[in-house]
Point group: C2
Chain length 116, copies 2
DNA sequence: CTTGATGTGCAACCAAACATTGCAGGAGGA
DNA sequence: TCCTCCTGCAATGTTTGGTTGCACATCAAG
């Protein structure tokens, strides 16, 4: 067991889903089964170029992958990699949750020993 | 039900725990039951001033709260707020997980209708 | 009370990341 | 061909994470 909980986390993957715009892009890509920089930018409050850069980031960590369709470039979510990202989110969450409960128990024990 | 899953998320809270340094700070604060900018900086690869800024960020979203003790300023984790943050992590995780499973089911249904 | 060590806070500065505008080029349809 | 639409590249601005340097406050000796 390690002292620092997040040491096991891949920071690159985390920071990829840490950006709110990229999270919403993933939402849209999942909801619509894929999309292009242009189509995504129509649903988000940023320019197409910003979206394109974010797609490049998501591509680098393999959360999405592109396919040329005619003159447009459609991106789709990599289910397996997103699954890994979700697993990491859950692991941090449960780790903190565990610490909180442990702390609560210690606090209760202290209180009992002081009152008894 | 909304189309964009993360619309319910408080971006400020998320971005507070989105930074890897801040996550490790929370780890340390939980493990040691509190700490100062100086004490935290001894366990992390950044300067005390950087830590102080991060503590200010965490304080703004109420994930930690300070208390003056003599000449030093000790920060402790706000359990309730961290619990909320964990809940948000889990909600995004399960939402994405749900979409993945739904997509898999749709894909299977399509495959069946084409083969049958 | 003065000295020194330690803890904090503020300001200037640097680099990387998110986002913008502007323009050039490639692929399809009338 | 001409027009439209989608993509890609370059220059720029702004925010954020990080650093260095210095000033100020507090506690413990002497």
């Amino acid at each position: 067991m390690s002292t620092t909980v997040t040491a096991v986390i891949d920071d690159e993957l985390w920071s990829a889903i840490g950006d709110p715009t990229r999270r919403r892009m993933l939402d849209l890509l999942l909801a619509e089964g894929g999309g292009t920089a242009t189509s995504l930018s129509e649903h988000l409050p940023v320019t197409r170029q910003a979206i394109a850069k974010h797609l490049a980031v998501l591509d680098r960590v393999h959360l999405v992958h592109p396919s040329a369709e005619g003159r447009e470039k459609r991106y789709r979510v990599d289910d397996a990699q997103l699954g890994r990202a979700v697993a990491q989110l859950n692991s941090v969450g449960t780790a903190w949750d565990g610490r909180l409960q442990r702390i609560r128990k210690i606090a209760e024990a202290i209180q009992r020993s002081q009152n008894g």
